[in-house]
């Protein structure tokens, strides 16, 4: 998207020491921000530092971060999926429809996840099969998927999910640790291993850096990208199960605007929007930061729309500051 083609890429003679580069890395900067926010929050509100309110705070981001994990891989590979929130709406609608035909809890979960996979496959086919730009395709499917929800539901809502279904969004695994939080931890670990410890992960980076070169080195670029769209659909389906279970209802306007929040998490987490660079750690910490900000401001009775100013400013300035710093340093030399 940006115009960096006239800029040369410099390769240093010697890499920095691992410790030094770890201290100055993006995730460490984010950790500092997160710790500061944590301290500020606990000073600002007496209700912040209690296990239960912290546990409640996790619901703010667990569903979104599940999508952000898959989205991170997709963005690293140089693609994007703006239809995730609409996939949630469609999957939730399908679950609601199935409920009308008397589906039980395991069937509902299966339908939600399969709908997500089908939507992901549809995006993946359009992007990799027909070679279309993902940003436009997913803007189209974003209206299309949610549009189907509106056709099915209109201004109605599906309600009355079975009691056992509510476990996914409201249940606790152990003490204050909710099922959603546990799933978030497990998925973060899986995605960490997938991106940073497997061949597949290296292929994702290779594609993001230079997909022509990746193709010439024997990576099946289309197949990898297709799998990434499938994964994003899958995670959206899972998020849909969680959200539907937590809200205990389905409306066509469910999860509106989440695609931008998921992208914000990913970019704030240090993933390059141009592809080719990023870490899962960064995304996870960025999600914690966004959760802390929204929850902390919520305790202080700040309305949601004002929180969005903070999130937006955070997005721009966290990215702008290192660039400004580098510019300033280069000028002094």
């Amino acid at each position: 998207m940006s115009l960096q083609s006239t800029e040369t890429r410099r390769i240093p003679d010697r890499l920095g020491t691992p410790l030094k580069s770890a201290i100055f890395s993006w995730p460490s900067l984010l950790i500092v921000v997160a710790v500061v926010l944590f301290v500020v929050n606990s000073l600002a509100s007496p209700y912040f530092l209690s296990p239960w309110s912290l546990s409640d705070a996790t619901f703010n981001f667990t569903e979104k971060v599940l999508i952000a994990l898959a989205m991170a891989l997709l963005i690293i590979a140089g693609e994007i999926d703006l239809s995730v929130a609409s996939i949630i709406a469609l999957a939730s609608t399908m679950m609601g429809l199935a409920l009308q035909y008397g589906a039980n809890t395991p069937e509902l979960v299966l339908i939600g996840i399969v709908t997500g996979l089908v939507c992901g496959a549809f995006n993946g086919f359009l992007v990799t099969g027909l070679g279309l730009p993902s940003i436009v395709v997913t803007i189209g499917t974003m209206s299309f998927f949610r549009g189907i929800s509106y056709i099915v539901l209109g201004d109605e809502a599906f309600k009355g999910y079975p009691a056992s279904f509510s476990y996914f969004g409201q249940g606790y695994v152990f003490w204050v640790f909710s099922f959603e939080f546990a799933l978030f931890v497990v998925c973060s670990l899986i995605y960490y291993v997938l991106l940073h410890r497997t061949n597949f992960g290296r292929q994702v980076f290779a594609i993001g850096n230079n997909d022509v070169a990746a193709r010439f080195s024997g990576i099946r670029v289309e197949r990898v990208k297709f799998i990434l769209f499938l994964l994003t659909g899958l995670m959206s389906g899972i998020a849909s199960v969680l959200l539907t279970s937590r809200l205990d209802s389905t409306r066509p306007s469910i999860a509106v605007g989440w695609e931008l929040e998921a992208v914000t998490m990913v970019v704030l987490g240090g993933v390059s929007i141009l592809g080719g660079a990023g870490t899962i750690q960064g995304v996870v910490i960025a999600a914690l930061i966004m959760g802390l900000v929204t929850f902390g401001l919520g305790l202080l009775n700040v309305p949601g729309i004002v929180m969005s100013i903070v999130i937006g400013a955070l997005l721009i300035f966290v990215i702008a500051l290192p660039i400004l710093f580098r510019k300033f340093r280069n000028r002094r030399r």
Binding site: M1, V136, G140, M142, S143, I305, I309, G312
Partner: protein, 326 residues
Amino acid sequence: MSQFLKLREFWLAVLIAALVFATNMRAPGFATPERFAGIVEDSSILMILALGQMVVILTRSIDLSVASNLALSGMIVALINKAAPGIPVPALMLIATSFGLLLGALNGLFIWRLGIPAIVVTLGSLTIYRGVIFLIAGGQWVNADAFSSSFVAYTRIEFLGLSLLVWYAVVIVIAFLILMSRTSLGRSFYAVGVNPTAAVYAGIDVGRTTFYAFCLSGLLSGFCGYLWVSRYVIGSVEVARGYELTVVAACVIGGISISGGVGTVAGAVLGALFLGVINGALPVINISPFWQMAISGAAIILAVVLNGRGAKRGQRLILKNAEAAA
């Protein structure tokens, strides 16, 4: 090549005409000049916004903040009008336009000076600008009875059978036709999008050109802020929420390539008109308005598929030429 491009806009126009006549078959009386004028009026704001977005997309960027910019500029003039009804409306238009320009220039500065990708900057400013509306209005709406009569009239006065709103769009379209084909700035938007490296060698400042594109997009969004508030007679945080994607959709349907450098004024206008016709036709043929979203989504997908086939062929050709040259 230019003939092929002409063909694409031609077919889009044919498609729109076919849509109008098909609707007319089901619901006679749809294809009257008055009805069509109504549809053009409904899509005027979208046309103006699509032209601004086109320039940005041409330079390989995207401006997701247009709807928030529109809502914020609109809210500002709505509040001014509420507080001081005596201020003449042209002055308010100027205020909305220059404020929009300022917001667009802010986006542009971050992109030009700091090299942050446009999608990131405008994603951030999308939420910030909309949050600011809440702050300056204190969460309140500006309702219909708060506006002065001239504020509302300046989009409604009829001239030669069309409302002023349509005439604004006509003037802007003509200005864009001249800008894009007859000025060096217009041509450099294309040059930057087609090949930024070559543009640098041709003496074009790529960053500055992108900056101007965002200024232009912001300026038009600000002007549309006034138009929107005046036409729908409401100022609120929810004004035009999510509309940025409709604007991008209009561009895509109009054949403007998201990878930059390809697109015409006629394409943007027809893309906006296409969405306007669909929205106008659905209620007439008794389809629930809830179908609207899915249909425009399907239209976008179809448009990308059709446009993409042309683009892919072009890409292969370039590869082949490069091999032959090597």
